[in-house]
Symmetry: C2
Subunit: 227 residues, 2 copies
Amino acid sequence: MIEHTVSAFDRELELLGRKISEMGGIAEKMLSESIEALINFKIEDAKAIIATDSRLDTLQREIEEEAVHIIARRQPLGADLREIIGAMRISGDLERVGDLAKNIAKRTLKLVNDQRLPRAMIGLRHMGQLAAMQLKEVLDAYGQGDVNRADNVWHRDAEIDALEDSVFRELLTFMMEDPRNISSCTNLLFCSKNVERVGDHATNIAETVHYIVTGEKLPVERPKLAQ
Amino acid sequence: MIEHTVSAFDRELELLGRKISEMGGIAEKMLSESIEALINFKIEDAKAIIATDSRLDTLQREIEEEAVHIIARRQPLGADLREIIGAMRISGDLERVGDLAKNIAKRTLKLVNDQRLPRAMIGLRHMGQLAAMQLKEVLDAYGQGDVNRADNVWHRDAEIDALEDSVFRELLTFMMEDPRNISSCTNLLFCSKNVERVGDHATNIAETVHYIVTGEKLPVERPKLAQ
């Protein structure tokens, strides 16, 4: 009877983990595709990304509800409890990543296909790739319970911040050179900020993985690149 | 003996509630003061706001840790469990509000005191006041467990979004009129986006209060103003 209960509990945890994986897959795909849609002015792709987001919202609600039910029914302790609390936190971060990708897609719809823009987008694409890599890396770390891998993601976030700074300055220069660039460039400024925030969520997830595996918290202050 | 245990549990819940109140007070103050510092180019005030933020981070960590301990030790169910989960969620939102206010304060340091700017700031101040009011209102609703008051906050978020839209367009016009405005106006654009996001967090808190009190969730889609 106890064995039955334990294995039912394991199945519940596994189901939570699978839902996080599904969320992670959707969020990664939304992020990469939103950057490509933006850079290539793909309106239809952008619309498809916007439509995907509700699936993430639904999954997050399901994860939260199931987590609360598991806690109430199983009254887990220690590592089991951390895993459940961690799943709730990670689902929150992934839901936010989806929102940010959706926001990039919405801005794609506002962007005029403009020959002057591609130069400004090189840095943005680079940032997007870096953020997508960080997100993939931290979700793999979560899947494998690999705290070193999670810590590496945490330490690398400063690179995205530094890139965002350079993209910001480049976009400002574009706007000053030609006022016709202002409207599109402000949209790109927000996109670049959104990508930076995806990096922050990857860092949050890294902290959560660290907490799940070790029971300890990383320092409050995040690393900055020496400049 | 049981009575002793129950009252110890009540004290723990009360302590959580007090810490949320403390966080709420700090976040409200940071938000209002950051808008005033921005609008009046008060560099020293902005620096003081930036320094305050770490207190919110500490409180959030304490609330999370205590919530996890209470769940593990007391194994609460139903309304008690919702209250604890709710406290964790609200502390996350308030920590983010503090980050957004800190970000506004940081941008104040970058802003050049410019005679042309005040006109652009009228809408921003109005947004800030509305967001501060929404935040205060939803924290009162939380303190009193008043679900109608929370629902009203939830319904009013569309007003902040509409204001943000008009501030955005105004700032764009400023930039187009005179390229010397571009640098400061991009900072104000981000400040206005930050205020809008404070409104989103107030809405999140309203949803959490609704959930704590009723055990039910508000619909996924948030109301939009007819335009």
